[in-house]
């Protein structure tokens, strides 16, 4: 069992400061990341995702709990003795060393021979397609090129786990999209476990095998992008990933009753009393039958159009409709909507 686990955090807590001025960055986080996985820690800034990453890298020591690497306890191992490398948000390339010297730094510190270093440097330079830049200094490179060098430098010593701390956040949108594909390709080619930290839900959904959603020092949900998007366990997760409508409802036999009086036949959730329904905009269809609603506003987004709809009790919903579907609705129009009850998530209020 443990042979398939690359990194594990067990009941990890981290408290900064002392006395009256303490800040709990991590509550009590347990997580297991499998070998060869592209795992993303996703959450807003200040949620503790970077602190967890730094605990795994060895830059911080957890206040409580343990960190394991391939089943070995490394909680108190200094960073230079951990077979784990980091791609920093600021890249942290050594400005006084050339690209090739930057790439060879880790191997040199490990005491590898000149020929071994040269072979590895050539390999990772090819991996990130930077062969032409081996003798440049970092400040002679563009942001995207520095990013590739930072990635190659961390990959050169062939770490057991590659940690990536929001590495794409400094790039412009087009380059970021390109690098997302690039990162995924590198992960598959090298087979190295990637632990990626980001606040960008789209980045997380497109690249990851699994995602861990964090908030306020706690891990809220771990699952595949599909799981997280389709079956969020809490209002926070549903809200953070993609767009979601939230509706108050009361649990009844055979479904839930909305504030408008309509009943939705949602699958049994085990919850009782007042609940919050999470409904994705694309799960709402505008048609001839169903709940009556009125169009409040329309937002044209190119491929899709968002319609803000008010139900009879004035609660609002946003529906996403393909712009070329022919429905040309205006504010004030009376419509009927159907909600895909099977995909509605019933959450605690």
């Amino acid at each position: 069992m443990s042979e398939t686990i690359a990194v594990a955090a067990r009941n990890v807590g981290k408290v900064f400061g002392a006395g009256a001025h303490t800040f709990t960055a991590l509550g009590d986080v347990s997580i297991e990341i499998e070998k060869g996985e592209f795992f993303t820690l996703l959450g807003p800034s200040g949620c503790g995702k970077t602190t967890l990453l730094r605990c795994i890298a060895g830059f911080e020591t957890p206040t409580t709990g343990t960190i394991e690497l391939s089943g070995r306890d490394i909680t108190h191992t200094p960073p230079n003795k951990r077979p784990v490398n980091t791609v920093f948000q600021s890249y942290a390339l050594f400005p006084h060393l050339t690209v090739a010297e930057n790439l060879g730094f880790g191997l040199k510190m490990l005491g590898k021979s000149r020929t071994e270093i040269d072979t590895s440097v050539a390999r990772v330079l090819a991996l990130v397609q930077m062969q032409a830049f081996a003798d440049r200094l970092p400040q002679q490179l563009s942001g995207g090129q520095q990013q590739r060098v930072a990635l190659a430098r961390a990959l050169a010593p062939e770490p057991q786990v590659l940690l990536l701390d929001e590495p794409l956040s400094a790039l412009d949108l087009k380059l970021r999209k390109e690098m997302q594909g690039e990162l995924k390709r590198l992960q598959i080619e090298t087979g190295i476990t990637f632990l990626f930290v980001t606040h960008d839900q789209e980045e997380a959904l497109t690249m990851s095998n699994r995602i861990g959603v964090m908030s306020a020092g706690a891990l809220l949900q771990v699952g595949t992008p599909h799981d997280i998007y389709e079956r969020p366990v809490s209002r926070f997760v549903a809200d953070f990933i993609g767009e979601t409508n939230f509706l108050e409802a009361t649990v009844e036999d055979g479904g839930v009753r909305l504030g408008s009086g309509d009943v939705l036949a949602v699958p049994p959730s085990g919850r009782t009393g007042t609940v919050t329904l999470a409904i994705r905009p694309e799960q709402i269809k505008i048609g001839q039958d169903g709940l009556s609603a009125r169009v409040v506003a329309t937002t044209y987004l190119g491929t899709d159009t968002h319609y803000t709809l008010a139900l009879s009790d004035h609660s609002t919903l946003v529906a996403r409709v393909q712009s070329n579907s022919g429905a040309d609705l205006k504010p004030g129009d009376a419509v009927h909507v159907t909600i895909d009850a099977q995909s509605v998530q019933v959450l605690a209020t």
Partner: protein, 267 residues
């Protein structure tokens, strides 16, 4: 109508005062330099252009040995001071704020604030008891005394450089398997080098022209160039002193220019 920003250069008489200040600062130095080329025997009566006082100074054995002694002391003292200052700068910047940090800063920079004559008298008394106890009367005392007052001059540029340096460089080195010593050797020190060189040069210049502490601490026959020149004042003053001063001035200007070029290049 918006308020104009206060600008000192628009005040009446600004130009006049500025020019006067510069003239007062530099006229004596120019006079000194000009009279070092005097063919006559006076430091204030012109007797034609000549390099003879440079030749006389260069052939004067007392000047020669004082110059060599000055350089030995300045090189050793700035070396020691720079090493100590680098360690002090690392200790005060490469960690979180700690209790008593301000007190440490003040203690490191003490020679900038305590009157030099006080330090000189203290060292005289302190060293003379050591001299009696050990019998050693070499240059070591002067080197140590100079190293002590050179520390803050070396410390300030090194600390400034360290504070401008990103800590993630060291974190990245540790992440790439560098031990704390390797991190210092291959990352921190190379990045710190401009600050270290600047600090060493400043310390060298400060040591080179010190008079007060040297005068108190030196044993018999341990004149440096500045104390030798001070001794000459008691006799008939010749342009030889001007020539020595001009050489010292030229050396200082060269070193300080290099200092500014090194510190500016990185900004």
């Amino acid at each position: 109508m918006g308020k104009r920003r206060f600008d000192v250069t628009t005040l009446p008489g600004f130009t006049f005062i500025a020019i006067t200040a510069f003239v007062l600062l530099y006229a004596p130095i120019f006079t000194l330099v000009i009279y070092s080329f005097n063919g006559g025997n006076s430091v204030n009566v012109w007797g034609g252009f000549s390099l003879k006082w440079y030749a006389i100074a260069a052939q004067n054995e007392a000047v020669q040995s004082a110059a060599i002694r000055s350089v030995i002391i300045a090189v050793s003292a700035s070396g020691i001071a720079t090493t100590v200052a680098t360690m002090a700068a690392l200790g005060t910047t490469r960690r979180g704020r700690f209790k008593g940090q301000t007190a440490i800063y003040i203690m490191i920079n003490q020679p900038l604030m305590v009157p030099e004559i006080v330090t000189a008298v203290a060292l005289l008394i302190f060293f003379s008891s050591i001299k009696i106890a050990t019998g050693y009367t070499g240059l070591g005392y002067l080197i140590l005394a100079h190293a002590a007052f050179c520390v803050p001059f070396a410390y300030l540029p090194i600390r400034a450089r360290l504070e401008g340096m990103d800590m993630t460089m060291e974190t990245a080195a540790a992440d790439l398997y560098a031990s704390p010593w390797q991190t210092f050797r291959y990352v921190t020190l190379p990045l710190l080098m401009p600050g270290v060189i600047a600090g060493a040069m400043l310390a060298f210049v400060i040591s080179l022209d010190d008079v007060i502490i040297t005068e108190f601490v030196k044993s018999a026959g341990q004149d440096t160039l500045p104390t030798y020149m001070l001794g000459q004042l008691r006799r008939a003053l010749t342009p030889e002193v001007n020539a020595i001063s001009t050489v010292l001035l030229a050396l200082t200007v060269v070193i300080l220019t290099a200092f500014f070029l090194i510190t500016r290049k990185r900004d």
